[in-house]
């Protein structure tokens, strides 16, 4: 009986969160003279009734899955890696470098090499803060903030001074990645299941890769000694040290792992969409990743869900902007309110559920 109640509550809680968020957002929508019901209806219809929208939602969520996972690994060991932003930019750059400079190798080798370069870039940029933390006692929040800014300038330098595609007149970008370095889209695979995606959808193999990685991270956290150590150190470094675990080593490995995953954040866009890196390469995935990780409660599967939610909000925003002339600002406000109400309600409901469950233990 209780178990059923708990189950119902668990299902209700995200729904309730969305309802409250929707209610608050309705006030904003009303204030610009639009009908909230229509706006929400359009948002959902646009997002879920069109095949391309659904695919675009997944495409949108792809970088966030990686970013959320990268942030969550930091959180798991009690460190706040605010530097995903810089890590993925550097990773993307190195990947691009491998993508346009390594010539004459087949895709089966080239693609992994490009991905590996991204990973290395992310790790490089993650190495600095963890080194500074352990060797010099520099708080990781400060160093990663500073390194983000440094990476912006460095990327600017590398792209506009060193690896500029000189065949372009006005655009500052790297040369185009070779075709062997581009990640295939998912169209072929989905066609096997009778799903025919339109051409303009860029959903690619990084999405399943991200899901796979989430499973891998879950496995790592809960089924490997290293994941065990990561969680122990995150919850109680003193006890871990006493038990013979070396927290510094775990920090090193964990941070590098987090950086490695961060290095993948930009690759779906790079290898699956743009095909080059420019000064305007999408920013902000690192910060979105923080929200995604925390809304997903640092659980790999929660992160997938939260990423898809963000992907939906973005696609829905395009829809209501185009179809209903709702300005972007309204949608941004809506997103903030959603995040807030989701976490508040989730928290309240979880506390409540925990209380009921405890009673159940009797």
């Amino acid at each position: 009986m209780k178990r059923i109640n708990v189950l119902i509550l668990k299902i209700i809680s995200p729904v309730l969160a969305i309802v409250v968020a929707a209610f608050l957002s309705s006030l904003v929508i009303l204030s610009i003279g639009k009908n909230p019901l229509e706006v929400f209806y359009t948002m959902f219809r646009f997002s879920f009734r069109r095949l391309d929208s659904v695919a675009i939602i997944f495409y949108n969520s792809t970088p966030l899955i990686f970013s959320g996972l990268a942030v969550s690994i930091g959180f798991r060991m009690g460190l706040f890696n605010i530097g995903i932003e810089g890590q993925y930019l550097i990773g993307t750059f190195l990947a691009a470098l491998a993508g346009f400079s390594l010539k004459g190798i087949p895709a089966v080798i080239h693609i992994p090499l490009v991905i590996l370069s991204g990973i290395i870039g992310g790790m490089l940029w993650a190495y600095l803060p963890v080194y500074l933390k352990i060797k010099r006692g520099v708080h990781e929040v400060i160093s990663t903030i500073m390194l983000n800014y440094i990476s912006y300038s460095l990327i600017h330098f590398l792209i506009s001074e060193v690896f500029l595609d000189r065949s372009q007149k006005l655009l500052i970008r790297t040369p185009k990645l070779l075709s062997t370095a581009l990640i295939p889209k998912l169209h072929g695979l989905l066609a096997l299941f009778g799903v025919n995606l339109p051409k303009h959808v860029y959903l690619n193999w990084f999405f399943p890769l991200g899901i796979l990685l989430a499973f891998a991270v879950y496995y790592m956290l809960y089924y490997t000694p290293f994941g065990f150590e990561l969680r122990c150190v995150g919850q109680n470094p003193d006890a871990s040290r006493t038990a013979g675990i070396n927290p510094e080593k775990v920090f090193y490995k964990g941070f590098l792992l987090s950086g490695a995953i961060a290095g993948l954040v930009g690759l779906s866009d790079l290898m699956g969409y743009f095909g080059y890196m420019d000064l305007d390469f999408p920013r902000g995935y690192g910060f979105d990743g923080i929200a995604v990780a925390l809304i997903g409660q640092n659980s790999p599967f929660g992160i997938i869900a939260a990423s898809i939610l963000f992907g939906f909000l973005k696609r829905g925003a395009e829809g209501i902007q185009t179809l209903l002339n709702v300005p972007m600002d309204t949608i941004v406000i809506l997103q903030a309110l959603m995040i807030l109400s989701i976490v508040v309600i989730n928290k309240v409901m979880n506390d409540y559920i925990r209380r009921i469950e405890r009673k159940g233990v009797a």
Binding site: V28, F80, I82, L132, R136, G137, V138, H139, V141, I142, S143, I145, M146, L147, Y149, I150, S153, L154, H156, F157, S160, E161, F287, I290, A291, L294, I295, P327, M328, D329, T330, I331, V332, I333, L334, Q335, A336, L337, I339, L340, V343, V344, K347, V348
Partner: protein
Amino acid sequence: MFLIELIASSLRMAVPIILTAIGAVYTERAGVVNIGLEGMMIVGSFWGALGSYYFGPYVGFLFAMAAGAFLALIHAIATVTFRVDQIVSGVALNILAYGSSRFLSQAFFKMATTTPHVNGLFKLKIPLLGETSPVIILALILVPVAGYILEKTVFGLRLRSVGENPLAADTLGINVFKMKYAGVIISGVLAGLAGAYLALEHTGMYVEGMTQGKGYIALAAMIFGNWTPKGALWASLLFGFAESLSFRVVQNAVIPYQFIKMIPYVLTLAVLAGVVRKSTPPAADGVPYERGTK
């Protein structure tokens, strides 16, 4: 001459960071991490401009502080009352600040990214520094004031106790929630003030994005300053100094300009890495308090 300019410029660049970092000291000493300071600065700059546009600079400053406080209030409700993760709440507030400022700017001024020009406060004539905004002086005064409040007053003692050991404070009859609310809201007021400084005093207009991540830098300065107002002051000044130094490095072909733009951040890191110091956050920083858990 060069030196005086450098110092004056450093000071101007440092002031918003100083104000916000002092705010950060208050909230973190009360045990609440506030990564939403950036957002509070943003609403401060917007509402400051709005207030000043319609009612003059004094009201502008009031609006700015109220707006910062309002956002802080949401943060407090979410994190103290509902014990939501403090970082998510902060991240969400930053988004809200960005969206709402844009929305309201559009609504009031039919311009999304700027307001019309607005007036600042009177200027003080200070030898060497020249015409100086009173807010700069205020910021410098607020540092020892914050130190005094935190160390010497009843309020400060209680505020700090709540960040160190809320359960102990609770058993002594201190209203933990009230103290945490107070810390968070003060931080919002100061961040709002910093935002208004940027819009009213420095530029004379609100421009979207004009805070340029100074809220995060302030957070870093507060940590660097070991959770004390005085430390935060020095850290902010260091950063402001590095920034205005970078303006003055001769831009020639030898050093690409991108590297000159890195100076403030590299210098901060270098100083941090050079001065090994243990930083000790308040013992219960970031931990939501709930009576009845140990």
